[in-house]
Subunit: 202 residues, 2 copies
């Protein structure tokens, strides 16, 4: 039976698929794979370049409600952010990790009272080792938060940092975002994640 499933993907440039010459990003790839499994999935991509968790708090509620209220047979929200929070401006992170955690708790908590919620962790940043170390630490922090909130969290930092496909794809891209082959590697991690598969099984 094909369900009318609608999912909002809320996050940053990696959610938006910035740099992907195929225009699919990881969100488009996992959506097409769900169709291949017989699930009629409408994916609303709410990734915005440069967005931090603070930016998401300003827009997520209105944007998600405009898409999921009274919609379809089944809905869900997938969140993914963190790299931009860890960017230094004037030697300070755009959002300090304790505030990111507070923002994440608010975003996840709001969504989880209404819909199934999954979180995908931030990917590695290859052009700045200090930035990347902050992202790795934030990913662990977000993973602990999701565990405490009993929400599924997919850590992608370590597997992508060790992935030749991701590293080569970022090299062909702008140094931060991969090309389509890198998004395919990230989509593969999501595709192999049991909570995602349970959500998107016909």
């Amino acid at each position: 039976m094909i369900r009318d499933l609608r999912i909002c993907f809320v996050g940053d440039s990696f959610v938006a698929g910035a740099g992907d010459e195929t225009a699919l990003g990881w969100v488009g790839r996992v959506t097409a794979a769900a169709w291949d499994r017989g699930v009629a999935l409408t994916a609303y991509n709410l990734g915005v370049r440069r967005d931090t968790s603070a930016d998401l708090r300003r827009r997520m509620e209105a944007e998600v409600l405009a898409r999921l209220l009274r919609a379809g047979d089944a809905q869900a929200v997938v969140l993914s952010f963190g790299v931009n929070d860890c960017t230094h401006e004037d030697e300070m992170p755009r959002v300090p990790p304790e505030v990111t955690e507070e923002n994440a708790a608010a975003l996840l908590g709001w969504a989880a009272t209404r819909w199934p919620v999954l979180m995908v962790g931030p990917p590695p940043v290859l052009d700045d080792a200090a930035h990347d170390a902050r992202v790795a630490a934030l990913s662990a922090r977000l993973e602990a938060l999701c565990a405490a909130m009993h929400l599924p969290y997919l850590p992608v930092h370590a597997p992508l940092a060790g992935s030749g496909a991701w590293r080569n794809a970022v090299g062909r891209g702008d140094g931060v975002h991969p090309d389509g082959a890198g998004y395919a590697a990230l989509a593969g991690l999501v595709e192999g994640w049991p909570p995602w598969r349970r959500l998107t099984t016909a």
Copy 2:
């Protein structure tokens, strides 16, 4: 020279690519084609199922500003809506044509003071001849409005109504939305439209 072009596509389920098993829709296809021409295009898909022009007035400004303010080298907005306005509920259109025109003037006018704006007309509705006749009439009305506002308008109703690819694709879909092959036919019309090509040429 590859530009960092960011475009918001604002509209309904046809903009969202509902029913496309490839997850590209026409927006994804014309985005990938722009990359093929050397244009680094970030497409923000703001299509929402069931949205009328009245719904768009409630959300367009906030959603577009969150994506285009201080973003990239170049930005633009593409609008496309109308089919849902013409849907009858209790024997009345969800939005009467004179109100759709008023909404369209407001939406186009707000965007056009800030960015280049293009409008793509509504596609045909194959499962309801009376609904489809209202859409055809609204498309002509929106075309006249855009002409008066000196904004490019692409009528797609007649070419898609006469397109075997579109009709067959809708037959394989849910009776209103096509599958991927239909979105490819619509993307082909946009790809061949000089105002779109001028906007997305490296």
